[in-house]
């Protein structure tokens, strides 16, 4: 049983708490970019995506895994214990390219919190396609650059935003950085 498993967080409690705080702040202030650390990710995941998975996923959160993320499956299974499921049943999704958002649970009007949260790994949050974001948590519109989303991302996101209070939330990760795009935020290409 030879394997290339690598360790998780260096300081499991402290690192998970500071990553949780970063995700919380990013959700509250959409588009604000935070640095997270404490883990060296297994390929093909970036460090931020791995940190978010270690922080949020556990035995009770069914996870959908992008086919391209298959090499990291053993690592995710060992460190989080999250069951790998099909899109419709997932509470979290780990995607290396934008999946079809309508495949995932968008909750119900009575329980919108049961929708899925998608962790999307991108090439960069500093350069690339630029979007202007507006909504709760933003006193003024904020511009966010994302490298690694399809050309029609603005339209796809607006369809998800239109479902509010239902809809999925997005956590964007690139390298050691993350930011969030909650369903309450509307975007347009700058």
């Amino acid at each position: 049983m030879s394997s290339g498993l690598s360790p998780g967080f260096g300081d499991p409690v402290g690192d998970a708490q500071s990553c949780f705080r970063a995700v919380l702040d990013a959700m509250a202030r959409p588009g604000q970019v935070h640095r997270v650390g404490g883990v060296t990710a297994p390929g093909p995941l970036c460090n931020a995506a791995a940190a978010v998975l270690l922080t949020l996923a556990d035995q009770e959160t069914p996870l959908w895994l992008d086919e391209a993320a298959e090499p990291a499956r053993a690592w995710i299974a060992f460190h989080t214990g999250a069951p790998i499921v099909a899109t419709g049943r997932a509470m979290f999704a780990m995607a290396l390219s934008l999946p079809d958002l309508s495949d995932f649970s968008d909750g119900s009007d009575e329980m919108p919190e049961t929708s899925a949260t998608i962790i999307l790994q991108t090439a960069s949050l500093r350069e690339g396609r630029r979007f202007v974001m507006e909504g709760p948590g933003l006193r003024e519109p904020r511009t966010l650059a994302i490298d690694g989303v399809p050309a029609d991302f603005g339209g796809l996101w607006q369809r998800n935003h239109g479902l509010y209070p239902r809809g999925v939330d997005l956590i964007l990760c690139a390298g050691d950085e993350l930011t969030a795009l909650p369903r309450s935020v509307s975007i347009r290409e700058a």
Binding site: M1, S3, P7
Partner: protein, 155 residues
């Protein structure tokens, strides 16, 4: 602790050595491992971290199960430089003991080493444990009251 109850275990050999390691003391594992020559370096994948597990019981084997209580368990997972991953769950909070047990579990999966580790570590530990158990059983047996003898005396 009768571990012959579960049939069709996927790896009965590993089950045996993990049970032996879970009952062994840290100093005895370390002492016996020292005699095995140079060992591959290892890195820690998880832990050693203490936690609680719920121990469940069942009256008479047929009753419905109930929560007996929680016990402290320390777990650890290591990977040797040769690529073998070893796990250990031991009772109590002794971290060194969990790490050593996990290391031996990893070494036992390496076909090149398993024979030597079996001979120098697992077999002696198992012998110690069965001797201890037999000693205790003998001591307890000496104080056993034979009720049927008293009955015979009265008639």
């Amino acid at each position: 602790m009768n571990d012959s109850a579960v049939p069709d275990h996927p790896c009965p050999a590993r089950r045996r050595w993990m049970a032996v390691l879970a009952r062994a003391k840290a100093d005895s594992i370390a002492g016996l491992l020292g005699a095995c020559g140079p060992l591959p370096a290892h890195m820690i994948l998880r832990g050693p971290e203490p936690g609680l597990v719920m121990v469940r019981g069942r009256t008479g084997g047929g009753g419905s199960s109930f929560n007996l209580g929680e016990m402290t368990v320390t777990r650890c997972t290591v990977r040797t430089d040769t690529g073998f991953v070893g796990h250990a769950y031991v009772a109590g909070r002794e971290e060194r003991r969990a790490e050593l047990a996990a290391l031996v579990d990893a070494l036992m999966q390496d076909d090149e080493r398993s024979a030597a580790i079996e001979a120098h570590v697992i077999a002696p530990l198992e012998r110690q444990q069965t001797d201890l158990k037999a000693g205790r059983a003998a001591k307890a047996a000496a104080t056993r009251v034979q009720f049927f003898a008293m009955q015979t005396m009265r008639t």
